[in-house]
């Protein structure tokens, strides 16, 4: 089977073309650097099959970052049968810089001129035959997004000759040097001697490592050939190749430029970004859409369903008059819900009916109390509690995907560069961080786009602070629990605040690391801003489908196994005797939890929460396997505990409220301290050691020996953040103690750095 490699500049549409050719659903986004590893697929046309390899985007074949090295190594070591060079037709001049380097390799090349539909839309024209003649290789116009020209591209690529000798546009002054270098590589029996020779002239580090190469360079004398070559390439492109493009309209400002004038404004860009972020959180989590019901209890005017006579309160539970009212409660109950909450309510209604149906069936069939408990409280309670958050996770990621696909995220990276730079990071680090809102695993892999190792390590360490989808149920459930149990705050404001806290913690930690253990210069940030595009419906749905698939798979594997183990351990004594809900305090899990409980006392959710406080300790530990486990653990245990205390609602996400009630009654912990402890619990989980998968990825991406320090960093950072939130939330004046500590640490660092400089 033949192998074709897709190569081109970042964000030129390689992965879109890869997906279109192979039927894959690889992640694509409207920003440079989405692909950081090679991936393979098969193109099928009738009986013929061709292996397609998608490579990370590169601007030149002189690699600076790990993912650029992957692209170069594949082309030179694996020697594909043909190179398909994807060129963004809307940005011809810059894209052809890489083309002039690819042509120097002894492999057949075909140019896929992508986004031709956009060129035509803007009124410009590209003379394909002129370009083909100048480059000496086939040029095919395509639109990877619309799927046009793909068959022609593959047919022409397949019909190309198997052998090709590299050609270069470098002529004249450097001929003598070039010939000398080519001879050297020919003597060494290297494939693509011309390519290697040009790289040697450019003082390429990889070429200089070859024995005898340094001597060749020395023989050229003290001339800056690297700059001369870059200059020669651009001159050739503008004189011979870019002329193939003719502009019909003389408009200088494109639509993207006009939008950028507002969205990347020096002053307004960041407030606009924060506003956009808040709007997203409001539409996902708010139980008071657009603040229609006022800004607090004093201004609330909408009647609840109970006040309307459509439902009644029985033992703290709302019982609706009929199923129609139950459906109405999905959208409205004394306030209009946001789309995210509506969808969550709807799914929970469905899951609650399944759960109660199964329990009733089992009870009617005469099943034992413990079997009903295992299935109802343990398995269904745990899994459904986590699944119930899926709609909100999907709504949040739909918004993030829209921001990504429109090209707005890339602008934010550019805008934030100014701020990030002050903390020792470049704006480029923002993209993996924002990916961290989805999942820390791909975000950590994406840090390969960062050239500086120290910057990369600092970024990997703070990625878990950007709350991922798995942590979202913790935020939503605990924030919802606070609002429902204590009647204070708004769930969306608390959730938004926690996300901001995560970002703030990341900034402080980066600042600390870049001034101490990971000191170094911040590399310059150069990023091409993509054109604003309407997000594609198919791509958005693919993003969501991936998320849903991953979440459901996890719920029925890891979460299922965990809830069964948690339920068993909480209902078995050390003598392996079955314990009822009332005796749970004597279980294996409770005794282990009680052993760990004091560790969390400085964070507010330790010994001060009394006899049931161990649930928090257990939830933290189970969360290390997968963060969804935190809420699954809470739910499984809370149902039993609140049923024991006689105040449980047994109503889906309300289990946490039941647990809060029980702890408040049994431990007499003051309300303000309990709220602070719950927020500290969220903060701790957001910043502590991430799940096993994220740890494994961080270990493989970090340099040898750095992982153990990273684990320690996560533990210390989460402990400090949790303690700060708890103490400040409980006793406001402790803010001064924390500030004094920050100032003292800063002074020590500044003095130490000054000393070192001397």
């Amino acid at each position: 089977m033949k192998t074709f490699a897709l190569i081109g500049n970042p964000n030129c549409g390689k992965t879109t073309l890869f997906n279109a050719l192979t039927g894959s659903t690889a992640h694509v986004g409207n920003w440079p650097g989405v692909t950081v590893d090679k991936r393979e697929g098969v193109y099928k046309d009738g009986g013929k099959k061709i292996k397609i390899v998608d490579l990370p985007g590169i601007y030149s074949l002189s690699p600076y970052t790990p993912e650029e090295l992957i692209a170069r190594n594949f082309i030179l070591s694996d020697e594909p049968d043909a190179i398909v060079n994807i060129v963004d037709a809307t940005n011809l001049e810059r894209n052809l810089y890489l083309t002039t380097q690819i042509l120097e390799i002894d492999i057949p090349v075909i140019i896929a001129l992508n986004m031709m539909d956009e060129v035509e839309k803007s009124g410009d024209k590209i003379n394909l035959s002129k370009l083909e003649k100048q480059l000496g290789v086939p040029v095919v116009a395509i639109s990877a997004l619309k799927g046009s020209g793909l068959k022609q591209l593959m047919d022409r690529a397949e019909s190309m000759q198997n052998k090709r000798v590299g050609t270069t546009i470098l002529k004249g002054s450097m001929d003598e040097h070039l010939d000398k270098a080519v001879d050297f590589y020919r003597r060494e029996n290297n494939s693509s001697p011309l390519f290697h020779a040009v790289k040697l002239l450019e003082n390429d580090e990889i070429e200089l490592e070859k024995s005898g190469a340094a001597e060749i360079v020395e023989s050229f004398g003290n001339v800056d050939l690297e700059a001369a070559i870059a200059d020669a390439r651009y001159s050739y492109i503008s004189e011979n190749l870019a002329v193939a493009k003719s502009k019909e309209n003389g408009q200088t400002l494109t639509k993207s430029d006009k939008i950028d004038k507002v969205l990347t404004h020096r002053i307004w860009a960041i407030p606009i970004f924060l506003l956009v972020l808040f709007a997203i959180f409001h539409l996902t989590f708010s139980e008071n859409l657009l603040f229609l019901n006022g800004f607090g209890d004093s201004t609330a005017w909408m009647p609840s369903l109970v006040e309307c006579g459509l439902a009644v309160e029985e033992d703290g539970e709302t019982v609706y008059n009929n199923f129609g009212v139950e459906i109405l409660a999905v959208f409205y109950d004394g306030t209009v819900y946001s789309p995210g909450v509506m969808l969550t309510n709807f799914l929970n209604l469905f899951l609650d009916h399944i759960s109660s149906g199964v329990v009733t069936l089992m009870q009617n069939a005469g099943a034992a109390e413990w079997t009903v408990g295992l299935v109802g409280d343990g398995i269904l309670g745990g899994i459904f509690a986590v699944l119930g958050f899926l709609p909100q996770i999907l709504v949040l990621f739909l918004f993030f995907s829209i921001l990504e696909d429109t090209g707005y995220m890339a602008r934010i990276a550019f805008v934030l560069d100014r701020i990030f730079r002050r903390f020792g990071l470049s704006g480029r680090a923002f993209m993996p961080m924002i990916m961290g809102f989805g999942c820390s695993v791909p975000a950590t892999v994406n840090t390969r786009t960062l050239a500086d190792d120290k910057e990369r390590t600092a970024t990997i360490r703070v990625i878990p602070f950007f709350s991922c989808g798995a942590k979202l149920p913790i935020l939503t459930a605990v924030a919802g629990g606070i609002v429902a149990a204590f009647g204070v705050g708004n769930a969306d404001v608390i959730t938004f605040g926690m996300y901001i806290l995560g970002i703030a913690a990341a900034i402080v930690c980066v600042l600390l690391m870049r001034n101490t253990s990971l000191k170094g210069d911040t590399p310059p940030f150069i990023m091409e801003l993509p054109t604003y595009r309407m997000p594609g419906f198919k791509n958005l749905m693919l993003h969501l489908w991936d998320k849903t698939k991953h979440f459901i798979k996890k719920a029925f594997t890891i979460i299922f196994a965990s809830t069964v183990i948690i339920w068993l351990l909480s209902h078995l004594s050390w003598n392996w005797n079955y314990l009822s809900d009332e005796e749970m305090q004597n279980s294996i899990l409770a005794s282990l939890g009680m052993l760990l409980q004091p560790l969390f006392t400085p964070l507010g959710f330790g010994s001060q929460l009394g006899e049931f406080g161990w649930v928090f300790a257990v939830a933290v530990i189970t969360g290390l396997v997968a963060k969804e486990n935190v809420i699954a653990t809470f739910t499984t245990l809370a149902i039993c505990i609140s049923a024991y205390a006689g105040s449980g609602t047994q109503d889906g996400v309300q289990e946490l409220v039941g647990l809060i009630d029980v702890i408040t009654q049994s431990s007499q912990v003051p309300q303000q301290q309990f709220i602070a402890a719950l927020i500290a619990f969220i903060a701790f989980n957001m910043t502590t050691i991430p799940c096993f998968a994220a740890c494994a990825t961080a270990k493989s991406e970090l340099q040898k020996g750095k992982f153990k320090w990273t684990l320690l960093f996560w533990l210390v950072a989460s402990y400090v953040v949790g303690a700060a939130v708890y103490t400040v939330g409980s006793w406001w004046w402790t803010v001064f103690i924390w500030l004094a500590a920050v100032v003292a640490v800063s002074v020590v660092i500044v003095l130490k750095n000054k000393e070192k400089k001397k």
């Binding site: 690889a26 950081v36 590893d37 034992a368 295992l374 991953h550 890891i558 299922f560 096993f692 998968a693």
Partner: protein
């Protein structure tokens, strides 16, 4: 013991064993992709990817 109880014990035990076996098999065989998150949205997790070990 009620047949329902026996059925629940058997089903839950089998399910936990199958899931544990599947997770261990995935880890050993590396089927979950190189990083083990098994999330197809991430390019680091295709079945063919190989990490460039430092």
């Amino acid at each position: 013991m009620n047949p329902i109880d026996i059925a629940v014990i058997v089903l839950v035990s089998v399910a936990v064993l199958v899931i544990s076996g599947y997770l261990i098999y995935k880890k050993i065989k590396g089927k979950g992709g190189c990083c083990g998150c098994d999330c197809s949205a991430c390019s680091g997790c295709t079945s063919n990817c190989k990490h460039d070990k430092k």
